[in-house]
């Protein structure tokens, strides 16, 4: 789900009407943001260099080349390395000036809000010629040169594909920004497919549903696989219970015991359930079923509890805090042997068998249909 659906729509419309690229931001809002830049930079009629260079015709300008301005050697070097200013490179620079061009004399720490960055670029771009503004769209070439000053990218021996010469058709007419391939997606098309929901609630549709409504739907459409109480039939996913078992020998991972985000429940039911009949539930149905799954897990306790877009964010999942980052590379078994595998007398004594696959008798093709489930299956 686009975080700025109205902007995406506006951009789509703009793309249909104009030949120039649609900037992400709003120039009017950018003018406000630019107040923070004005102490050092001028733009517009008669703008002159101040502490920093003037910014007319900035889009398309090679970094460090505004006539008559004394740049840091770092900025001149970046420009010589191919850095040119466009929406993408400017955004990166404004996000972290010294991170991008190490040694720049611009002492500004950077803009922290992505929207501010988009807006101020849109504002500054209004003082660049449209023909050059068209180049503002990120191109593969830009990406490469932008990386060049800090980390020269290793290129394979294979020659880079030859890029077509300059635009044959204006990018605004439906095609993409570099090769003019594809066409602009319509708002209706995006709405039809973009149904994802994030933990912060972005993407949640309007609507609501109660536990009681969810129970009816669940009994009719879900319980044949997930069981009457979410306990599951056969090896279908268990939805409820298991809280407090994650450290056990046989943990039971359910929505209540394991899932960190409620948004995932809504998103998944909406896109993929019921199994074999996806996309058949209404948004209200999905709220009701999500509420019922919460009820089955004792996360809500009243049958008349109603889950809605408005109160969705108030529900906290019990296991939300128990997810950690990937730290496999720091594990002792890797650190101990890194680059240096043992070659001789690595383990004392002779090897003795401690476990046979056959003993468990779960090898395929001898399975006789009894309840011989693997002790560790796949999910």
């Amino acid at each position: 789900m686009s975080r700025f659906p109205e902007i995406a729509l506006a951009a789509a419309l703009a793309a249909l009407c104009l030949s120039g690229p649609a900037y992400a931001g709003d120039p009017a809002a950018g003018e406000q943001v630019f107040k923070r830049c004005k102490a050092c930079h001028a733009v517009g009629d008669g703008a002159k260099h101040r502490v920093g260079p003037e910014l007319n015709e900035l889009i398309g300008r090679t970094a460090g080349t505004a006539e008559g301005y004394r740049y840091s050697s770092a900025m001149e070097k970046a420009g010589a390395g191919g850095l040119a200013w466009n929406a993408e490179t400017l955004a990166k620079f404004l996000d972290d000036p010294k991170g991008m061009v190490k040694g720049t004399k611009m002492s500004f720490a950077g803009l922290k809000k992505p929207a501010d960055i988009d807006n101020v670029i849109a504002y500054v771009a209004t003082f660049s010629k449209p023909s050059e503004a068209m180049d503002a769209a990120p191109k593969p070439e830009d990406k490469k040169t932008e990386a060049a000053p800090t980390e020269p990218k290793e290129e394979s021996a294979r020659a880079e594909p030859v890029k077509p010469a300059v635009a044959a058709a204006p990018a605004g007419e439906g095609g993409g920004l570099n090769y003019h391939l594809g066409r602009t997606a319509t708002a209706g098309e995006i709405a039809a497919w973009d149904i994802d929901v994030r933990p912060d609630g972005v993407g949640l549709p309007d609507g609501s549903g109660t536990v009681a409504q969810g129970e009816k739907l669940f009994d009719a459409q879900c319980s044949s696989c997930h069981g009457d109480f979410g306990e599951a039939v056969g090896r279908w996913p268990v939805l409820a219970g298991g809280q407090g078992t994650l450290k056990d020998d046989r943990p039971v991972k359910t929505v209540g015991s394991y899932w960190p985000y409620l948004s995932t429940v809504y998103d998944y039911i909406r896109r993929a359930m019921p199994f074999g009949n996806a996309r058949s539930l209404s948004d209200d149905d999905v709220y009701a079923l999500t509420a019922y799954v919460l009820y089955l897990n004792d996360i809500v306790t009243e049958e008349d509890f109603e889950l809605s877009k408005a109160n969705f964010g108030t529900i906290e999942m019990p296991n939300a805090q128990n997810f950690i980052a990937d730290d496999r590379a720091e594990e002792p078994q890797y650190l101990a042997n890194k680059n240096n595998p043992c070659m001789t007398d690595c383990i004392a004594g002779v090897a003795k068998i401690t476990m046979h696959a056959e003993v468990l008798d779960v090898t395929p093709d001898v399975q006789d249909g009894d309840d011989k489930k693997p002790s560790a299956g796949i999910e």
Binding site: P251, A278, R328, N337, C346
Partner: protein
């Protein structure tokens, strides 16, 4: 035959019978002696030597020899609730080299294999982009194309072995991996066509199947080496591999390689979809779970001999072979132990050594007919050495399901039969 027999008694019985003849033959040949009787394979005229075979119009799409009917994918019915949301396994013990034939690449899908009409397939890019776009398959073919060989491994490969040896065959313990050459276009070129906005840090990839499979891909990876591929091993993707187009995420867990790719959304945060929260997270012994464990660790397995591929020729020359791979790049070395990890000897990597592709190794030896505890151990270009299963369990416990790259042990008895075992 052997591989289908899991019953210890009958399997051993079979092997005994089978080996008696084979060993006698091998022994006599090895000694350079003359057979008592002439070999009828030579002295009798075979049917194929006398009668004409099929014409060129008999098989518009060629299939393997009927004598190779056991080189097939197999599933394990009780692993999952339903074959429509399940997995099958590549017959690694039947293959050689580093390329997996298209029809033998393991399958994993969550709502069955979608049969998508390419004329009606669209790839949309939306979210934090300058221009939301829709591409047809024809559009995708007009981007610059690249060809790359990569392995794809399911994060749950060997997942059934976390608690100890379970499945008797490398097809089942390690068969959720395959390696093909992909043809397609770079994801970064497609993203640039739409123009990623500065705030865009993640890409959500979505499939067109009935699971509408989704994963959040970090932008750094998306702009590095990800591909949008429409061909594998020179021909169109197979249906079960995402025809007409799939995402390729080199070195990362297979679940991220979204098949039947229909949408790419750019966003500033990950979406925390089902397959990256409730699944494909690695539960540790302390109750915490690792999240976004994308890269596949360094790993290897001996494919021959193995439980489905016992030694049938008796003692003497033995070619031991297997596969090694790492999501960190190339495999720098593979070592072999015949004594259960006490002592190791370097194996020989043969064929191309490509980053994030399968590597084929061989270890040629004289087998004296005594029992062996066979193990292989890979080290990748970053210096990561494949750990033992005990080491992994000591750190992670036994409930992780995913990312089990522990060293596999095959016990080979004096008859040449091999078993999946755990050893001290």
């Amino acid at each position: 035959m052997v591989e289908r027999s899991g019953n210890g008694q009958s399997r051993r019985g079979f092997l005994k019978a089978g080996l008696a003849g084979g060993a006698a033959l091998a022994g006599s040949l090895a000694a350079g002696r003359v057979l008592a009787a002439d070999d009828p394979a030579i002295t009798q005229i075979q049917d194929w030597n006398r009668y004409s075979g099929d014409g060129v119009d008999a098989h518009p799409y060629g299939m393997p020899s009927p004598f190779e009917k056991d080189a097939v994918r197999r599933n394990v019915a009780w692993l999952t609730a339903d074959p429509v949301s399940s997995v099958n396994f590549t017959p690694l013990h039947k293959l050689d080299g580093i390329i997996t034939p298209n029809g033998l690449c393991f399958e994993r899908h969550h709502g069955g294999a979608a049969v998508v009409d390419p004329a009606k397939h669209r790839l949309m890019i939306n979210g934090l982009v300058e221009k939301p776009l829709v591409f047809t398959m024809d559009d995708l073919r007009r981007f610059p194309r690249v060809n790359k060989i990569y392995f794809l491994e399911c994060a749950a490969n060997s997942g059934m072995e976390w608690r100890g040896s379970q499945l008797n065959g490398c097809q089942f313990t390690h068969g959720m991996v395959h390696c093909v050459m992909y043809t397609g276009v770079l994801l970064k070129d497609i993203l640039a066509e739409a123009g990623v906005k500065p705030a865009g840090k993640w890409v959500l990839a979505e499939g067109a199947d009935s699971a509408a499979m989704t994963r959040s891909i970090p932008m750094e990876k998306a702009l590095d080496d990800c591909m949008v591929a429409f061909a594998m091993n020179g021909e169109a993707l197979r249906v079960e591999q995402g025809y007409p187009v799939r995402l390729v995420v080199p070195g990362f867990e297979g679940n991220m390689w979204v098949k039947w790719l229909r949408r790419l959304e750019v966003g500033d945060e990950p979406w925390e979809q089902r397959e990256e929260t409730s699944k494909y997270t690695d539960l540790l012994a302390n109750g915490k779970a690792r999240h976004f464990t994308w890269a596949m660790d360094v790993k290897s397995v001996i494919t021959n001999p193995s439980p489905q591929a016992p030694i049938t020729h008796g003692k003497g020359r033995l070619v031991l072979t297997g596969l090694a791979w790492s999501g960190n790049g190339t495999v720098a070395r593979v070592d072999i132990s015949t004594d259960g990890g006490r002592n190791w000897k370097p194996a020989r990597i043969d064929g191309p050594s490509l980053p994030m592709a399968l590597h084929r190794f061989y270890y040629e030896m004289d087998w004296d007919g005594s029992e062996m505890f066979l193990q292989s151990r890979a080290m990748d270009e970053k210096g990561f050495v494949q750990p033992t299963k005990q080491q992994l369990r000591a750190v992670r416990g036994a409930n992780s399901i995913y990312h089990n790259n522990g060293i596999q042990t095959w016990y080979v008895d004096t008859n040449g039969a091999a078993e999946n075992v755990e050893i001290s």
